[in-house]
Symmetry: C2
């Protein structure tokens, strides 16, 4: 599927080349965590990797191109976010647990990849199709699963007939994503206290009623 790793000028990358490439990606990832996206320069990444800017440009067209590569890797991992939902029930006490698991998994994933996710979010919001696709890939696994659950519960008449399952699911997931990336900015609310409240909202949105704890 991925084919061979290629340099910008078309050569196939060998063992050493791939190592250098990966090292550049790792250093870029670090830089993203430590300085504003706008200030991340090719030359800094190259220096950190103990190589030269010219080498960087052999493997990536520019900083954005390299970020996209990192994001793809992350998206592949993040597609498994919905794993929690596969075998999770939304009925009774189990529903509360499922909601909690979802929130936990989400916040955890976000904390591990916050710097990269910020950039992906920005790119997507700016209308860049490539970033939007990656963002969708990450979120869709969860949104899709939630949509299915809501649709099912809706057919049982528990939820407002007028509600659009996809819209509700998308909004809930957006909420999780947004809260996750601004966790520190919640003045007066401790992170530990945030989780159950998010779970409460998710449960409310999905099932239409308060959780049984």
């Amino acid at each position: 599927m991925t084919g061979q790793v290629r340099t910008v000028d078309g050569r196939v990358a060998g063992r050493r080349g791939q190592a250098t490439r990966q090292k550049l990606l790792d250093c870029l990832s670090e830089m993203l965590s430590s300085s504003p996206y706008r200030d991340v320069k090719v030359i800094d990444v190259a220096r950190k990797a103990g190589t030269s800017p010219a080498t960087f440009y052999q493997y990536f067209p520019d900083v954005e191109g390299a970020v996209l590569e990192l994001a793809e890797q992350m998206a592949a991992e993040g597609a498994g976010l919905a794993g929690v939902l596969e075998d999770g029930s939304w009925i009774g006490r189990a529903g509360w647990q499922t909601a909690q698991n979802l929130v936990d998994g989400f916040l955890d994933f976000w904390r591990r990849n916050d710097a990269l996710l910020r950039v992906v979010d920005l790119g997507a919001a700016e209308g860049d199709k490539r970033f939007a696709r990656i963002r969708a890939k990450i979120l869709n696994s969860v949104t899709g699963s939630l949509t299915a659950t809501i649709t099912e519960l809706q057919s049982k008449g528990r939820i407002d007939k007028d509600a659009n399952p996809a819209a509700v699911a998308g909004a809930l997931v957006a909420m999780l994503a947004s809260v996750a990336s601004h966790q520190k900015g919640f003045q007066g609310v401790k992170p530990a206290e945030l989780k159950p409240n998010l779970a409460l909202l998710v449960h409310l949105g999905v099932t239409g009623k308060k959780p049984t704890r």
Copy 2:
């Protein structure tokens, strides 16, 4: 309170100076809407304003500084976002209306200022205190009002005692902000269809029960 407008090197700005300054801000605003934040250069803004880069640096320390200025102006306007909530009831049919009004106002404000809000969001997420403060200023008016409402309803026993009003309100507002900035990215859900569903979630989160339409 605001004091006089001053140049970077301490001179007080007169009529002409303020006009130039404002023109630079306007052009910056346009550039933010039309190109990725990362690619907005001082020289482009200056050219667009029919002046030189040196002039730009007379009024702002850098691009970020100018963006902060724009954001402050926006925050002043956005602080009125909660106006809808002041005289809005959350009881019965009126509650549904209030929720809809809130969603409407929010999405509208976001659409009018999307480019700037993206940058503020990024800055805040990256940990920049100045951007975080501005973001809080915009959101707090709404969050605060919602928190009060939830607290009140909670005392009447309608909502889960364990819920933290501030956390729930914050999460709902974050949801609105996030959805607003990714409106185009909601595949398969039309914007018009999005609103009532957001209102539904807000109503559910605030009052704990389905709206009466």
